[in-house]
């Protein structure tokens, strides 16, 4: 939170990437964070936390590709951040999002120490867009699969984010589930919807999927997961958290459905630019809040940013539209700003995947009502 009890920071240690995915929303550069710059950035983040009496921080390390910096660099960063935070009485946790292409066993000790022996990576099925420059998706899949197997063999917990595409809808939920679980052995993954973020290209023009097909896929996958997944420790986001929500348990819903993401997190890239999240920080200069290396105070930067104010005002303005009539307002709040902006060229419209969200919420609510009814009957 920006001024709650916890602070979430997406930190791009480099804007450089070793992949060349067609649908990437980032505007990649060769910038990498030096340890000196990292110290300045983290110092100002801790100042901000002091000012707002925030006790804990999670740094989500990303790129570009985060593993283009060395394990030694991260080890030094980890030590310095830990020491600086401890002096201020703050608690810091670290998460890692990586494409894993640069992974090797020399990362294992660091991943265990800094990231709790867990990381998150990305792969789509079928893979249409993820590539290394000059090579096809099959090469990427093979390389990625090999790295994931190595990491798993080292005991690392590998979570996956997968972006749906037209091919996914065509193969259907059953085959998708089998591939992820049976073929790849992935038991913890999140499905994301695509959006044409960043600079335009021909692939992005066809990224958005038919809402009805997408809804059907989600509901079918949710049913398969409920039948064969969740009781076998398979976690699929967002189904698992929606299940928690509708069963009145504590739920950690994805950021796209937050009350107001301006209150939840910020991203800082390797140049020091500050923006709402990684989807914005390199790609949309007009929506950069400022540069943390060029300001005296992150708190001031955030308070005075007209760009940030637009994010804060987004849900307020959406309430003038039909979101206020929606049965699922409490779950969604108008959805994701970047999915909206990249398709509607405006922040102040609701998420283009509204139909999907409502269908999925309704489906999960109905499923959970049946589960709870069954449980009550069994009492």
């Amino acid at each position: 939170m920006i001024n709650g009890n916890h602070y979430s920071l997406i930190l791009l240690s480099t804007n450089q990437c070793n992949a060349a995915c067609d649908y990437c929303f980032e505007d990649k550069t060769s910038d990498r964070l030096s340890l000196e710059r990292l110290q300045i950035i983290v110092g100002k983040v801790l100042d901000h936390m002091d000012e707002y009496q925030i006790g804990s921080l999670t740094i989500h390390w990303q790129g570009g590709e985060a593993m283009l910096l060395s394990p030694l660099w991260y080890r030094q960063a980890f030590a310095w951040i830990g020491e600086a935070a401890a002096k201020r009485g703050k608690r810091v946790e670290h998460g890692l999002q990586t494409n894993m292409l640069a992974y090797s066993p020399k990362w294992d000790a660091l991943i265990a120490e800094m990231f709790g022996n867990s990381l998150s990576t990305s792969l789509d099925y079928p893979n249409l867009h993820r590539k290394v420059s000059g090579r096809g998706p099959e090469h990427y899949d093979a390389l990625w699969g090999r790295k994931v197997r190595m990491a798993r063999a080292a005991g690392i917990d590998v979570k996956v984010i997968t972006v749906l595409n037209q091919g996914t809808l065509e193969i259907g939920a059953e085959r998708f589930f089998e591939h992820m679980i049976d073929d790849l052995g992935i038991t913890d993954f999140q499905i994301n919807t695509p959006f044409p973020g960043g600079a335009d290209n021909s692939v992005k023009q066809d990224l958005c999927l038919d809402s009805t097909e997408l809804s059907r896929f989600h509901c079918e996958l949710a049913d398969i997961w409920l039948e064969r997944g969740h009781e076998h420790d398979v976690r699929i986001g967002p189904f698992d958290q929606l299940m928690n929500y509708f069963m009145e348990r504590t739920a950690c819903l994805p950021c796209i459905w937050g009350k107001n993401c301006a209150d939840e997190l910020i991203a800082i890239d390797a140049r020091g630019n500050v923006a709402q999240c990684d989807c914005w920080v390199t790609s949309y200069p007009d929506y950069v809040f400022g540069n943390i290396l060029e300001c005296d105070s992150l708190s001031e930067l955030l308070r005075n940013s007209t760009a940030r104010r637009q994010f804060s005002e987004r849900p307020i303005k959406l309430m003038q539209g039909d979101c206020i009539q929606c049965d699922y307002l409490a779950l969604c709040h108008g959805g994701c700003p970047v999915r909206t902006y990249s398709t509607r060229q405006s922040l102040f419209e609701k998420d283009p995947y509204c139909h999907l969200y409502k269908s999925l919420f309704r489906h999960m609510e109905r499923c959970m009502a049946e589960v709870m009814g069954t449980l009550t009957e069994a009492l």
Partner: protein, 291 residues
């Protein structure tokens, strides 16, 4: 509403005498009422932080923010756990601004208080969606607004997305469910035996809709006197099945107000409480535990 109670500090002021009555005061009257149970209101969050002393906190039932103030960040880590009441005077127009206060919920129970008027349903919907508790300033409303209240009551009782209390529905439902006596005047914080309103000049008034009345010699007897009079007069209240929780609440200020609509609301609540009690008893019976 969850309230904030700490060890009672010594009174810092001898006048007026310490009592069990909660005084709803403007921040400017704090000096005169220190040591009493208080609700302190202000439209300047920073002033609340500056002027309320740590020793005052134990006497606070809650603080009330009116005028949709900015600058509430100062309240985030101040007196964590202290309840906050956010007053929406124009709910149909101002409801979207609730987003700006949602982060207070991280460290405070926050309730939104609003009048029943055009557009109030949207405000309740958003407040509930943001997980604020709600207090409706109910009264003698026309049938169209009673219909709106009936729809809202349906949502409160049956929609899984409504997870926070909406008063007065919530306390009435609990009272009916537990078969405990409830007092609508108290639920609505309008019973002069429990609460008094103090204006900017320091003059005490009866609370809420009674504000136009003089305090009189025994204001704490108002509800009993009023309900006894209605009952003795043989008015609609005399044979009303909800007279006990209502005590003539809906006959104020106009004694001729037709209570058919509000009686239907109360009947819905009582029926829901009966069904809930029966469902829980049946579930306990099936599981072999004593209801």
């Amino acid at each position: 509403m969850q309230t904030h109670r700490r060890e009672q500090p010594q009174s810092l002021s001898a006048s007026p005498p310490v009592s069990s009555i909660v005084y709803q005061i403007p921040l400017g009257q704090l000096g005169a009422y220190r040591g009493n149970p208080l609700v302190v209101r202000s439209d300047h969050p920073q002033d609340l932080v500056t002027q309320l002393l740590p020793t005052d906190l134990g006497n606070l039932a809650y603080i009330q923010l009116y005028g949709l103030p900015s600058g509430t960040d100062v309240l985030m880590h101040w007196a964590e756990g202290l309840a906050i009441d956010l007053v929406l005077d124009n709910p149909g127009q101002d409801f979207p601004t609730l987003y700006g206060y949602a982060k207070l919920l991280d460290n405070h129970p926050v309730r939104v208080t609003l009048p029943i008027e055009s557009g109030f349903e949207k405000a309740v919907k958003l407040a509930s969606s943001l997980e604020f508790a709600v207090r409706l300033k109910i009264g003698q409303h026309p049938p169209t607004l009673i219909e709106s209240l009936a729809r809202l009551l349906g949502d409160y009782l049956h929609k899984s997305m409504v997870t926070q209390p909406i008063e007065c529905f919530h306390s009435l439902l609990l009272g009916f469910y537990r078969d405990e006596p409830v007092n609508l005047w108290a639920i609505q914080e309008e019973d002069p035996a429990l609460i008094r309103y103090v204006d900017e000049q320091g003059t005490e008034h009866l609370p809420g809709r009674l504000g136009g009345l003089a305090c009189g010699p025994a204001p704490e007897n108002f509800v009993a006197d009023w309900s006894n009079r209605l009952s003795a007069d043989g008015a609609e209240c005399a044979d009303c099945p909800f007279f006990s929780p209502c005590r003539g609440y809906f006959k104020w200020p106009g004694r001729d107000y037709d209570c058919a609509g509000v009686k239907a609301l109360l009947a819905t609540l009582r029926q829901a409480a009966d069904e809930l009690r029966a469902d829980i008893a049946a579930a306990k019976s099936r599981s072999g535990t004593t209801p």
